[in-house]
């Protein structure tokens, strides 16, 4: 542990030093060999440090947060040093510093895109699609006949590239966010339907018999037994849908938008060869996606605290 911390500290110092050198003293593209030796040393040192730290079991946050965090920093560092050191054209791959700079310089623009794509289309489509899928699943659940008809179709739909309906939705609902939300509704409906149906069927025979012996009606069994036992499945669908919704929203914008939105920004700036703005937009999308997912995971933990996968962690 101690050796690991020392190695990481040394690596961090070396990395900081090499970044300062690169920024002030060296010209990009013609960097002396000694500098690459320094970079190699930093990489090797951080690897040794990571290896030592990865072996540490307690406290848990070292393996869970510090190690992946440091690994991410190492990747960023190598990305920065290599792109600047070899003077990689920004069109191919801009350096993280440039992307960060664009992120700060275009904050207002990116916020507008975020509002258009995420706050309008994605949230509306996600809520409507997941809600509809859930409602239909609860309704269909009463009829085994419909279930046997819909489940195979739901499985088939997962093999279909649904994003393809984007041009049709743009024709029907116009260029604004409504058409994107419509694409997202269709994309998120089926995962929710299939998962909720599976979840509603997941309560065991014994538990159902118990409810029966309490003389519980359909509604009570649904509310007190089957919906709670379906929650892990429902949250699984919500998590899948959070990614699908963002993808649907962005890709649908490739087919036509008002002059705002993340998908629009990506396709326009790519046309102008402003690759660093594109990367900045992608960074925003990545951040939005992770936070969305993280919030869902937190809510899931609050609702399904009784599930074995969480119980084990505490003991």
């Amino acid at each position: 542990m101690k050796g690991g911390v020392l190695a990481v500290a040394a690596a961090l110092a070396g990395a900081a030093g090499s970044l300062v050198l690169l920024a002030d003293a060296l010209t990009p593209g013609s960097v002396p060999l000694a500098f690459w030796a320094l970079v190699l040393g930093v990489t090797a040192l951080s690897w040794i440090g990571l290896e030592r730290l990865a072996g540490v079991d307690r406290p848990r946050w070292i393996g869970g947060l510090v190690v992946p965090g440091l690994f991410g920093l190492l990747l960023l560092y190598l990305w920065q040093v290599l792109t600047v050191g070899f003077d990689v054209p920004a069109v191919l791959l801009p350096s993280p510093a440039r992307i960060g700079h664009q992120l700060a310089a275009n904050a207002g623009l990116l916020w507008q895109d975020f509002r258009q794509t995420f706050l309008k289309s994605v949230l509306a489509g996600f809520t409507l699609g997941s809600g509809l899928g859930f409602l239909v699943a609860v309704l269909v659940d009463r009829s085994p006949f419909l279930q046997r008809g819909l489940l195979p179709l739901g499985a088939l739909v997962s093999a279909i590239p649904i994003v393809g309906i984007a041009p049709i939705m743009v024709m029907w609902f116009g260029f604004d966010w409504q058409s994107k939300a419509a694409v997202i509704v269709v994309m998120t409906f089926f995962p929710m339907l299939v998962n909720t149906l599976a979840g509603l069927g997941s309560a065991s025979e014994i538990e159902r018999d118990l409810m029966h012996s309490y003389a519980a009606g359909y509604g009570q069994t649904l509310l007190k037994l089957r919906l709670p036992s379906a929650l892990p499945f429902i949250f699984n669908a919500l998590k899948i849908n959070s990614t699908l919704a963002l993808i649907g929203g962005i890709v649908a914008e490739f087919f036509g938008t008002p002059v705002v939105g993340m998908g629009f920004r990506i396709s326009v700036e790519i046309g102008r060869m402003n690759v660093d703005v594109v990367w900045a937009t992608i960074a925003v999308a990545a951040l939005a996606g992770s936070i969305f997912y993280g919030i869902l995971a937190l809510v899931e933990r609050g609702f399904t605290f009784w599930h074995p996968s969480y119980r084990q962690e505490q003991s």
């Binding site: 290896e51 006949f145 008809g149 093999a159 393809g164 962005i250 993340m262 990506i266 990367w279 969305f292």
Partner: protein, 291 residues
């Protein structure tokens, strides 16, 4: 016979209901266009004539199922498969990019999984990032990959395959890590009592145990791979491929063409997933799994 009846009947009924709703929707959504046309000609129409016009418009808002079926049939069977008006031609372009990307992605996914299972450091440092990256809309970088690779002279099939590869290695890595770790401690202990080396444990226990997991991930991966290939065709104005067909259809308002291309994409996706399913069944049977 009774058994197959009870399995297929519900699906058929649901399908029939969908087609019925589709026809009603076609009349409803096309009503505006039909009224326009009737006004131009100044004729009155009965309900049957109204529906007939709604089902035979050139550029309907929603084409009727039989219009799509006819366009599908014509562009698949009656046209030369090397002509850009044939859907087979486009499906072949998209399909080959999908398969190349799928193969590369599978290779990369398996290699990463083996690395993660073998080295604790990679497990602790790389796996969290792979999981986190699943929450990112990776498809958004598709246009950039196309343009950037085009810039260094790579065009045609490869850039699309790269996007497909990038999309489909995640589920494979995650599934394989789970599968390679699925042998329980008892089995691992047994291998130790045989004094098996790490390589032997891997070859004779971990690898066979992971095959079922691998195929589950492969089915997910090939479907995403197809989405990647189609989206990869959108931003560049590619000449061929189902994505290009969708895009040109949306530019010129050829709704029937869009729907036919969509059905081709759906068919392609189902065929690809079914193919993986067949390989899965053959492999598992050879490995001695009970059917």
């Amino acid at each position: 016979m009774r058994l197959s009846n009870s399995r297929w009947l519900p699906v058929m009924v649901v399908l029939a209901a969908i087609i019925l709703i589709w026809y009603v929707g076609a009349v409803w959504l096309n009503a505006g266009l039909v009224e326009q046309r009737l006004e131009q000609t100044g004729k009155e129409a009965t309900a049957a004539e109204f529906a007939h016009i709604a089902f035979s418009l050139d550029r309907p808002v929603l084409p009727a199922p039989h219009q799509v079926a006819r366009e599908f049939y014509e562009s698949v069977f009656t046209r030369d498969i090397t002509s850009p008006r044939s859907l087979v031609y486009h499906a072949e372009i998209t399909g080959s990019a999908t398969l190349v990307g799928f193969a590369l992605g599978t290779l990369l996914g398996i290699l990463l999984a083996v690395g993660i299972v073998s080295w604790r450091t990679l497990d602790r440092s790389l796996l969290p990032w792979i999981i986190a990256s699943q929450t990112i809309p990776i498809l958004a970088i598709a246009p950039m990959i196309i343009v950037v690779l085009g810039n260094i002279g790579l065009t045609g099939l490869m850039p699309k395959a790269v996007i497909s590869m990038y999309l489909c290695f995640f589920p494979i890595t995650i599934g394989m890590v789970k599968g390679l770790r699925s042998p329980d401690p008892l089995q691992l202990d047994l291998m130790r009592t045989y004094s098996a080396t790490r390589g032997q444990v891997f070859r004779k226990l971990r690898w066979p145990a992971s095959v079922a997991f691998l195929f589950t991930s492969l089915k997910v991966a090939i479907a995403i791979s197809l989405v990647g290939a189609i989206v990869g065709e959108l931003p560049t104005g590619a000449q061929g491929g189902l994505g290009a067909r969708l895009l040109s259809g949306s530019y010129y308002g050829q709704t029937v063409q869009i729907w036919a291309a969509l059905f081709m994409a759906a068919l392609l996706g189902m065929v690809l997933v079914a193919l993986v399913g067949v390989v899965e069944r053959l492999t598992l049977r050879r490995m001695g799994a009970k059917p």
